[in-house]
Symmetry: D2
Subunit: 326 residues, 4 copies
């Protein structure tokens, strides 16, 4: 199936991905990982939850960690352009027959809870508490110096269907991998905010959250994080990288939090604000699409993901692991 033309005038205006909520089994261990090691800043914490933001963010939170029995992803949050976009979003999802409800979320204004076509729990809001800037309080910078949340990547059992759905919402495909035989999409990267992606889908048993990415200043910050993690007991949490992605051209590192939620540390992709930006197509057999420098990803990277709370998963009709050219 060819990738859909971008919907330049969607029914409602999503500005960007905003935040993720993780259930974690040991809040103290998660705090050591996200705060002491990655360097995210605590906006609020009590014994049941921690709200975090990155260094250049003024919204209250980009990650919410909640103590719980099962390590799942509760919800993916999105920010819309105006209050009225929330109502338009509600109408959009209702017309699709998808569940919608207004929910109360701390530090956020009116919040719409819904699910995408495969059941990924989504929450849209316009207003979030705004905090004073800290990006020039350099004494606070630690760990990998995370600047902002960058994107989500999800396993989808049918990437064509996922891309069609988000394209209708105005997400624009920047790069994609096609299975040359079936002509079905293997993976696709879609953006709203002007980078390579706010959301990506990869073929696999899903929906599941593959990873959540944070933007950092330079590759040297990623090297610093590797040095830190490998000498502070987090050696086994390093899963893949560092490397350069063919797709997105970004410099990357994949790490796992204490519950196995995957985090990507990411920098140096490119600007995509032009509405007529041509998507870049990659061949599934080209190993450089994953790592420009040729190193293969480990098996776990193709298989492991976080479940979404209360969301059923199904197998993909395509094979579960891409055939990598030798």
């Amino acid at each position: 199936m060819p990738i859909p033309s971008p919907n330049l005038y969607p029914e409602f205006n999503t500005v960007r991905l905003s935040h993720v909520e993780f259930i974690v089994k040991d809040l103290a261990a998660s705090r050591a990982f996200y705060v002491d090691t990655l360097g995210l800043q605590v906006s609020y914490e009590d014994k049941n939850a921690i709200y975090l933001r990155a260094m250049e963010e003024r919204g209250h939170h980009c990650i919410v960690l909640k103590q719980g029995a099962e390590a799942v992803a509760n919800v993916l949050g999105m920010k819309v352009y105006g209050e009225e976009d929330l109502d338009r979003a509600k109408s959009f999802f209702e017309k699709k027959g998808l569940p919608t409800e207004w929910v109360e979320r701390p530090y956020q204004g009116r919040t719409l809870r819904t699910r995408d076509n495969f059941g990924i729990p989504l929450e849209f809001y316009h207003k979030m508490d705004r905090l004073p800037p800290i990006h020039q309080q350099y004494k606070l910078y630690k760990g990998v110096k995370p600047l902002r949340i960058d994107h989500f990547n999800c396993f989808s059992p049918d990437v064509d269907a996922s891309v069609a759905f988000y394209s209708e919402m105005g997400f624009r495909v920047t790069e994609y991998t096609e299975d040359e035989e079936s002509k079905k999409l293997w993976a696709a990267w879609l953006h709203r905010k002007g980078g390579v992606h706010d959301m990506a889908f990869t073929n696999g048993r899903g929906p599941r959250l593959h990873h959540t990415a944070f933007w950092v200043p330079t590759p040297l910050n990623i090297i610093d994080l590797l040095d830190l993690m490998s000498t502070t007991g987090y050696l086994k949490n390093i899963e893949r990288g560092p490397g350069r992605h063919g797709i997105s051209n970004a410099f990357f590192l994949y790490i796992l939090d204490p519950d196995g939620h995957r985090i990507e540390i990411y920098c140096s992709d490119y600007q995509t604000v032009d509405p007529d930006l041509e998507p870049i197509k990659w061949d599934l057999k080209d190993p450089q699409r994953q790592t420009l420098w040729g190193a293969p990803a480990p098996k776990s990277w193709f298989e492991h993901g976080s479940l979404f709370a209360g969301t059923e998963v199904r197998d993909s009709s395509l094979s579960a692991t891409p055939i990598i050219a030798p």
Copy 2:
């Protein structure tokens, strides 16, 4: 005068700044500067003109250099979201009593030529020839490894009036400097594409173009350029920097091309896509707004700029040079 509220639903949708056209007196000297030293890529050249793009750009040009008798800036180019935005733009400028005309520009679609409230020549287009990606042809990277055009900065004789005009066009103020006594704006940074600015205005005899900026990967690329320029005959073309701006938080270097057109090399400002992003206010007496590390800018930086072709300049009613705290 307080800064205006952002106009979230402007009459027409400007995506981003796009390109600048410079008249240069010695095209070969300019080529040595922009191509051999900065590392911009030639999209087209003949004996009268050179069209250049940066490494991650797919539009045909971000700088046009034309041989001429007088070193001036001919026009600032802007890209709009859709074809219909061109007609809406025409109407917008006509209602202001400003000149508009459809002009032919090589490699561009329908192009609207007009002027802003102080006479800055502007050209809006939607379509520009799209070129194949070169951002992964690493053998082409040279000089400072310029990735994309980032912003314009202009002297304005009345920054409040300039900001009001561009705000009506949907540009949103991210940071500004106010003169505490007169309560007038000294300088302001306004964006469309989600960085700190596409356009900035600084108080001074104007309108004149203060500088055109290019985004580069990291501060080390700027250090590389300094090493290169200082050992290849461009020592006197280094005007200010390197340093960290207080405003924008960017790492910067200002250099002058062979005709005195000022170029800023720039990286690491922050994302500004939230429509409710609060502008940051700086005190005119705070020297860290200019250079976080305290080093003052040289006198030339406050005084020198490029004239716009066929555009009359006037003095500002505020003093010509900011009083810097000792």
Copy 3:
């Protein structure tokens, strides 16, 4: 066998490793690799040979490439402190019953050719033609911006014996890996010039040259080289890395030249000039000794090496591949 005490007053004074001579089967292909890709500078070339130096070197050559039928390493070159050290070296090797002869080498003064205890061909000289500095001719910097040759690493069939021999020559062990069971050395790093090593030995069929290393300014230059090689046809020449070594703490990349001679790109080890610097011991079962971040080296890295011209190899009595903890 415990590592020997450093011989602080050796019979002759070796300043540093100096150069390597490779026989290559296609001189043009080697030139494309070493000059156009790595960025080494040509001191002299004709159709049979190319002499290269790195950016901060003033000696005439650190690599000599010679066209030939079989891809071997001809000789490892060492610089001694004074002319008289050459005579003392001759006496030292003669007393060991090792072959010595005075040979003529272009661009070098009096040169002593000999072999170490396992037959590695060594040449010692004091004087080499000195060239004008180019380290501030920044327009010449290309590729990985190689600054200087850093070290050799050789397979040895008996690392204890190799270390004893070079220790007597005044090389000082900085780090080493011991096989906990046999108490034999698995690998050792020895220096003369004040870094982690001028020469290292690793257990294996030998003597063979495992790699020759070049020092570069920062890890970002190594990332640049990876980007360049992976997009200019050298993808398969990337063997291992980038990563941080546990041993030496250096940031590294291993690549193979067109003939399979292995080159390490290396930076950021530490200063070792103190004569009482304590060697650091690593456990053979600790995978972080090789890569601090945990990624294993590929099999080829443990097995492949360059033969020395006219030198017989023998198997090691220890197993050929280290047992890596899972």
Copy 4:
């Protein structure tokens, strides 16, 4: 006066500069500067003194801070190669008619206290307490990530005489500035350990300590320090830089501690172990010798220095400030 030929076989063998002892007027303020801001590690502290080392050093201290009434430099420390070099050093200084005595210094073995030809207090030792390596304890890295002490730079009232004295001690000149008219040395850089310098002399009222330098991994660490200092109350402690020196080719920053002792943060000079390395000569009128990129040093940098305890200063016969070409 021409620079002296290097004395390749000096009477005693100095390995490297080792440490400096500063009297500071507010030990807590100095701790905030050296430990919390620069990131040096505390080896020992009590209410009267703090002993510090840098991240890759295994000797006990590279800076000793002592509470006192007057901010002076007490002594410059040097490490010699063997115990017997201490006796040879004693003999060397005695033959010059300079004062010598054996002194007790905590954490050091036998220590010789003496003075150079202009009265700079020097202490030579061979043994210092050795501490466990911390260079791979990455959680300890903070501030500018200082790796090791690199060099001293002193004002001398007669640079020719200083250079002659240290040359006799085996220090080798790597670069120098000559006053073309008087043919006298304006400044010179001399090394023992294989970098551009362990000790440098600059013309001026002296002897006084101009600065003490620390080596850091990359220019980005210097940028990090600038960001940190300029947002934590140390803005006025930033004196000069960042920049590239023409002489030494190093990337530098000069800062002042709370008592005005000047510290240089320094990286990326070059290797100088070759005994026949040709010194590089710079013209006093060439502004690029100081800053390759052309920015002049501030007046304070030419005039201010730390007095040595109990040491008389005298004026230089040359003018006090170099004439900088406009």
